[in-house]
Symmetry: C2
């Protein structure tokens, strides 16, 4: 026994409901204060503080103090990726916790997955990009084509800038609601940011769902037509 890395440790970190809820809340991509996270976890501030300390010690979270606030965020892209893969797995076995609530359809339609767009709209966007030859899909790997590069450049995405980062440009991310891939990576992030900047959509307060304005929705659907 005692072979390989210690999966029990991180399993235990994620295994507590309060911590799991906090992590899920942080999948929204925004850094949150300890008080907000206490609310998300359904525990008091003291308890949340203890949980956050553990998560930080386990390197799942990073802390940034700003004035008298303490903002917590997922430590890096890898944590988001891990959580999303567990969510995908859990969803696949019907380990759904939610009795379908009012917010749920909105969440399935469009939500934030750490830093990029997920849900029905996220899947549609990737499908559309592949259909028009902007992105090459081989297996579950994605790569931007030269065609795609110029297409995106013309929408106002500075692809050259993104390329210089060491983070992968395109990555596929399994969507737990759609059970299909959507676009992650720095390009996925940049696209979502551009939707916010253009005013097509905005984040919601306490949720991960993304709400499109009527005009934004029209533009989005026109830009990314359904791949027949």
């Amino acid at each position: 026994m005692k072979e390989g890395p210690d999966i029990a440790q991180i399993g235990a970190l994620i295994g507590d409901p309060a911590r799991a809820n906090m992590l899920t809340a942080l999948m929204g991509g925004k850094a949150l204060t300890a008080t907000e996270l206490a609310g998300a976890g359904g525990v008091t501030l003291q308890t949340a503080s203890a949980h956050l300390a553990k998560l930080e010690a386990g390197q799942l979270l990073v802390q940034r103090k700003q004035g008298r606030h303490r903002y917590f965020a997922l430590a890096d892209d890898g944590v988001g990726k891990l959580l999303e893969s567990i969510m995908g797995f859990a969803a696949g076995r019907g380990h759904l916790r939610h009795r379908p609530g009012p917010k749920e359809p909105a969440l399935r339609k469009a939500r934030i997955c750490y830093d990029h767009l997920a849900g029905d709209y996220g899947v549609r966007m990737l499908d559309s990009l592949v259909a028009r030859g902007a992105i090459d899909a081989v297996g579950d790997g994605l790569a931007l084509t030269p065609t795609g590069e110029s297409q995106l450049q013309s929408i106002g995405i500075d692809v050259r800038d993104l390329k210089s980062s060491r983070r992968p440009l395109c990555r596929s991310c399994l969507d737990w609601s759609e059970r299909r891939a959507h676009l992650a990576g720095s390009l996925g992030k940049a696209l979502l940011s551009s939707f916010f900047e253009k005013g097509w959509a905005h984040r919601t307060a306490g949720s991960r769902s993304v709400v499109f304005s009527p005009e934004g929705e029209r533009q989005f659907l026109a830009l990314f037509p359904a791949a027949s």
Copy 2:
């Protein structure tokens, strides 16, 4: 709160050390009896029985009774994939549990990852296949080329047969020891099986490591030269 799938539940399942050890043992790909798993988990038979019941209820394991034995195995490919991704994550943060023991180098050299070859040799094999144009790698996606298909056919891998299955032919799997990708999917499985059949290598008793015979090692290294 209460958004999305219940990640806490499976986190908790993996979060117990005894259960984590059992799951790790089952990553060897072989079905094991309750008694063997009790040994792997370092607990008594009664305790193991309780753990196994939980893992089965959580759909991580399946049970097959055979005479008076009860064999347990990972429920499906998805579980193996999940565990490996958690291992990769844990290894990346130095959550290594093992003080490097005697078996450890062997494990890093070649081991079974659920049903395919991992470790240094697993990575080398994929690199070599990519270098010779047998496999296309785009991002982290893999696809068999026509060239590769005939190459493998000539080594005695029935690729056409594999293609008919709905399981993906090629998948990349992140190696926790090498931190690079190795080949998973039905092709990865078929290749490892062929090594066993040819007598190049064999599994070890209580471990996930794969041991090559001197002659088998020679053949393997010749077939998959290091991609310079």
